[in-house]
Symmetry: C2
Subunit: 356 residues, 2 copies
């Protein structure tokens, strides 16, 4: 399973501005022969995403364990037969010993505390995360756990409920799972993260982190802001308005039912890119207002929205096998992701073609 071709990249600068190169003396793989497809997984945080990932990893045959901040969640997970502790330190120490892939599955505001534990107990671990903003996360990793071999991730899956009980092993099936593909990232860990995503049934979308953050501001964070605004405007119409609320209002405000705390943290975490998306929405909504007030016409607004939705409905992502043995694999992967493509399998010099 060891992809020898990846070794060619070990002389490249690491992704982060600080801490680059610290891993050069580590062997590519442990003697145990672990590769991306059988690497152990340590999930820190067992909410909806982390809890679903632990279930999916175990279902895929991985050795996997996790830690939950909530004693109740840890008990519930243990009762269901999962290997779970409430002690982050223990989970991380075990990850360091097993050369496991550590998955940070806590909200961005909680990442600081966990990363300080990583620096102490598993400083050079293989590290990824599931947070919906990637540039702020990369910054905090570089600051607090600079030696970690970090490749950011973002599974595009969710639900209006949260917590361990809301999780399920098939949450990621068919979903897009962004894996950061900026120049200089550790290709070995990239393969680990991509393989884990594929093992859960997701397809990998490689993207530069700034391009990811700009895209999710438009199609994930802005929808939450718009849903909140729409819900408030509707509710301000009083009981008669709520009584008449039909499909368009219910659909348009569904995600406003999600945890306000989590949504706020998610949106605030992508402040820069979200500001751009909100400005775009304000501009278009203001133009609609102006047209409605002046000529009474809304055809341009409604027509453009209809066309955009048709584009989405007709969109079929091109699928590809990620070949990590070619020159400049990350540049090619970014190009694939930018064109809307998805990775559904990994190819390395060692193991040939491995469909998901």
């Amino acid at each position: 399973m060891t992809p020898p071709g990846l070794g060619d990249n070990r002389d490249k600068p690491a992704y982060r501005a600080s801490g680059r190169g610290e891993n050069r003396d580590k062997p590519a793989y442990r003697a145990s022969g672990e590769g991306p497809d059988d690497r152990a997984v340590c999930v820190i945080g067992l909410g909806l995403i982390g809890g679903s990932l632990l279930r999916a990893a175990v279902r895929a045959g991985r050795t996997a364990w996790g830690s939950a901040a909530s004693a109740a969640d840890a008990e519930a997970a243990s009762a269901e037969g999962f290997d779970v502790t409430t002690t982050v330190d223990d989970a991380l120490t075990r990850a360091a010993e097993a050369d496991a892939l550590v998955v940070l599955a806590v909200p961005l505001p909680a990442a600081d505390g966990v990363l300080r534990r990583v620096r102490r107990h598993a400083p050079t671990c293989r590290l990824t995360d599931v947070v919906s903003v990637k540039a702020p996360m990369a910054e905090v990793v570089a600051r607090l756990a600079p030696q970690a071999r970090y490749v950011g991730g973002h599974p595009m899956a969710g639900a209006s409920r949260s917590g361990w009980a809301a999780g399920r092993a098939d949450l990621f099936e068919g979903a897009a799972w962004v894996v950061a593909a900026d120049e200089g990232l550790d290709l070995e860990v990239w393969a680990d993260v991509a393989a884990l995503a594929l093992a859960t049934g997701a397809a990998v979308v490689p993207a530069a982190i700034d391009e990811h953050d700009a895209a999710v501001a438009r199609i994930s964070h802005l929808p939450h802001v718009m849903a909140a605004v729409l819900a408030a405007v509707g509710s301000a119409g009083g009981p008669l308005a709520l009584s008449l609320a039909a499909g368009s209002f219910r659909d348009g405000t569904r995600v406003a039912g999600s945890s306000a705390e989590l949504v706020t943290a998610m949106c605030e975490g992508n402040r820069g890119a979200l500001l751009g998306a909100v400005d775009d929405a304000l501009g278009r909504l203001g133009a609609a207002r102006g047209s409605l007030a002046s000529t009474g016409g809304l055809a341009a607004t409604i027509g453009a929205g209809h066309q955009a939705r048709l584009t989405l409905d007709e969109y079929t992502p091109p699928q590809a096998i990620a070949d990590l043995t070619v020159p400049d694999p990350l540049a090619k992967l970014r190009e694939l992701g930018r064109a809307g493509g998805r990775v559904v399998g990994l190819q390395t010099a060692h193991d040939g073609l491995r469909p998901s």
Copy 2:
């Protein structure tokens, strides 16, 4: 079935500013003994709503016929055994002869042409409609068919598809069906319209037309504008953004998939009230933008939206029997609708309690 109590209101001024009182010499009901529960129904326009209504009326045992502008739709409906013509004039002449309830089920921009036919072939008919704006519709009826006994209606049901083929007999089951309840409306026709709505499985929401228009601007028309804006902002993010579009974006833009022509006509028809709703949304979105830019905080916006959505989720409409025999029944009905209540049965002096 004849509700004698309704006769008490025949000395009141009719709803419309023009044409009031023309119906005073008409007998309350024909000798045939027709009442609201067995009144024949003539549906003009067999798109999603009209086509569903014709099916639902027949299913409820009514004598019902319709006319479709599209020959293909008329043929399809006839082939399914429905009594359908392409000639509006024939359908209306028959309605005048049978003292049927005429349901205008065409978009607002097409109403003018049909109302000129009404004036010619069924000038004093019992008339309702299914258009989503009520004040503009009342104005055009008063102008073009001033003698018609008009009580506006608005079933809050829809689908992203349109046309006869998209219709179904159960479209209105459990839906709210607004019936105009302004002072001076013809109570006999009010009972006809309410009884038809109940027969389709809907619950009746009585409302003054200006209150209706303000409410639907917030919970039906604004959601379409917001969905169009959101779809355009997302699509402007290019293939990567579309590739990452998950539930929040898909839900938030679903209604942008509806016919742009119909949505535009619907929104433009409620210009005045929609402007107010758009301004409210612009204000709230602008406030979110300001807060995000200055302090980075979105908790107020997200929190208010979450609370509003919870209010919607927890909302259970009070149900009532509409008693048309009491003094000032329309005032009481408006009060019920304003409080978010729904009519699920009609009571008249003649027929006692009639649950839906």
